[in-house]
Amino acid sequence: MIVVVGLSHKTSTLELREALAFDKDRLAEALLRMRQDAGANEAMILSTCNRVELYAQAEDGGTERVARFLAGYHGRRVEDLEAAVYRLGGAEAVRHAFRVAASLDSMVLGEPQILGQVKDAYQAAEKSGTLGGSLNALRNRSLAAAKRARSETGIGHNAVSVSYVAVELARKIFGQLRDKNVLLVGTGKMSALAARHLVQNGARAAVVGVRTMDRAHELAAALGGRAVPFASLREELATADIVISGTGAPGVVITREDVEAARARGGRGKRPLFLIDIAVPRDIQASVAEVQGVFLYDLDDLKSVADANLRERRKEAAAAEAIVEREVREFLDWQRSLDVVPLLVDLRKRAEDIRKAEIDKARPRLGPLSAEQEAALEAASSAIVNKLLHAPTVQIKELARNGHSLEQVGFIRKLLGL
């Protein structure tokens, strides 16, 4: 049975997740210990900032042992973690694994990182030799389902973080970002992040130093751009396509007159200008938004776009859930059909043995036969066996699919004398 034991952003605080996280460098050792301590046949550990989850293939009672391992590994008592740790087994565990990979259980619905993190976790388990047939099948099917959900629905569409929203808006306005001029006013973390996305898409950056030039030079170097002094802000505005302003200044840094003058001077009055004001208090005069061809977004605007985008994603989530649910069913069917595989193999072998034995017994009494007659004898006896076994084989597989297998497999074995 596949089991999943763990905690996520839904059940625990970041603090607790940090305390129970698994160090990447010691993951291999942890996996081996988990397999041993929890008595699991297979083990995998997914440890990200939003979740710490232990996947295992284990016999009955495996969830409890895995939970004890999770607590024990970090020197905790399992009783203290009751509220945060979920224990899933069988179909529930499988469904959870699929939903996690498809980013349906993520804090930010549809975020793309989780797929890579899940892949890495399976890979680490594979390297440590703790991955077997069951978890490997779970890996293949859940990652395939995740990719399907992502490509066939819009759960991954539309940016939902502020800096990505800024990039997406820039694309919406300019299309290609290649050779667009990005002007950074101030060297804050968020403006640097947004600028990096833009530069990765081919934009050129210039960084305006506000109080000192040191940080501006540093950031400009990191972005492969120029550093310019505050005094030339107005000149730079004339050639900028995208401005990201995030100074800590108490007052307005860019006024409406600045923008109007820049647009008149740049001789580019018709090209759009995208201004992003991520400073609090704001750097850019609000009435700048009224200027023709200028798009001004402050932090609240970016957040509201992010929220709107997230609502779009939630609408898509239902479709993604449906895809995942179908794939989960298929996986569970396949898993159940595995239960009866040994039975079917035994049944076929038994029948084949009987056929061969009976032919061998009768063969001497038939005298010399032509090759054609030999073949006919083989074909006729095989056909009898196949036809007799056809209905039971189909029925047993059907039984397995409907999930009645375990108790009935024993009964069938007894019935057939296997």
Partner: protein
């Protein structure tokens, strides 16, 4: 099969495409999936068959009168759309093209067949002039669509609240460049259409200019597009003003087309002495 039956099949296929696009626009899903594109291609095949049948039935190029005019207009719009879509993959064009094609073919299906004839329709000028004019109209219709998309999206972006078009349309830049390119192509056809129109008029009536309403509106559209193209090329115009001017130009174009299809049949009737 007669042209009318083909046209009915065309209508059915275009209806599938139009319905798909409208539903997907409201649910904000991808506009042009395999289904609507396949339906359009199938519709277009029947449409082509219908037009060629109709040409034989009428004995002249089927571009005159409400029924033939709307059918040919829809066919040209779909043709120009397909050519543009193959190159640019701008799915939002479907938002205007599919309903327009459906609407025009719907009108064509229910409009009475024109009872006109006469030497003027046998002229070699008719197929040449009409083909050029319709290709021009179709291109300018695409430019008009891109202009509207530009304005809607600009409004959304300016107001900082993404709405429907934010999720459906291509970037402003794309709307602008594709709109500009469509205007340039459309203007070329329109110019040639006007020139052949003059020649035809001279050949049939002995006068280049007859002061007809459609001549005035075509000329108005032509002047608007001259201004638009000059402003684009010389002053780097684009964006909002170009979009607005393109929409104004298309209004004149649409008037020319409507005048042609609704009243020109009557005018032609009068000119050849049919009551």
């Amino acid at each position: 099969m007669g042209s009318h039956l083909y046209l009915l099949l065309t209508l059915a296929f275009y209806a599938v495409g139009a319905l798909h696009v409208v539903v997907h626009a409201f649910t904000r899903r991808r506009l042009l999936t395999t289904w609507p594109v396949t339906a359009t291609l199938a519709g277009f095949a029947f449409h082509t068959a219908s037009l060629s049948q109709r040409w034989t039935e009428a004995g002249h190029f089927p571009a005159v009168g409400l029924r033939d005019g709307t059918a040919l207009m829809a066919w040209t719009i779909v043709l120009v759309f397909l050519a543009t879509y193959v190159r640019t993959r701008v799915e939002a064009l479907g938002l205007a093209v599919y309903p327009a094609a459906f609407g025009l073919v719907l009108v064509a299906n229910f409009a009475p067949a024109p009872e006109i004839g006469g030497a003027i329709l046998k002229s070699m000028f008719l197929p040449i002039h009409a083909t050029l004019a319709f290709l021009g109209y179709a291109s300018l219709f695409l430019a008009f669509t891109m202009g509207l998309l530009y304005l809607f999206q600009e409004r959304d972006l300016k107001s900082r609240s993404p709405r429907r078009f934010y999720y459906l349309g291509p970037s402003l830049e794309r709307c602008d460049t594709l709109g500009g390119a469509s205007v340039a192509v459309g203007f070329g056809f329109l110019t040639l259409a006007i020139v052949t129109g003059f020649l035809w008029s001279h050949a049939s009536k002995g006068r280049y200019w007859t002061s007809d309403a459609k001549e005035w509106s075509a000329l108005t559209a032509w002047v608007i597009y001259v201004v638009l193209l000059a402003a684009r090329l010389r002053d780097g115009w684009g964006g909002r003003r170009a979009a607005l001017l393109g929409i104004a130009g298309f209004t004149a174009v649409a008037f020319t087309f409507l005048w042609m299809t609704i009243f020109a049949a009557g005018a032609a009737r009068a000119s050849v002495g049919v009551p």
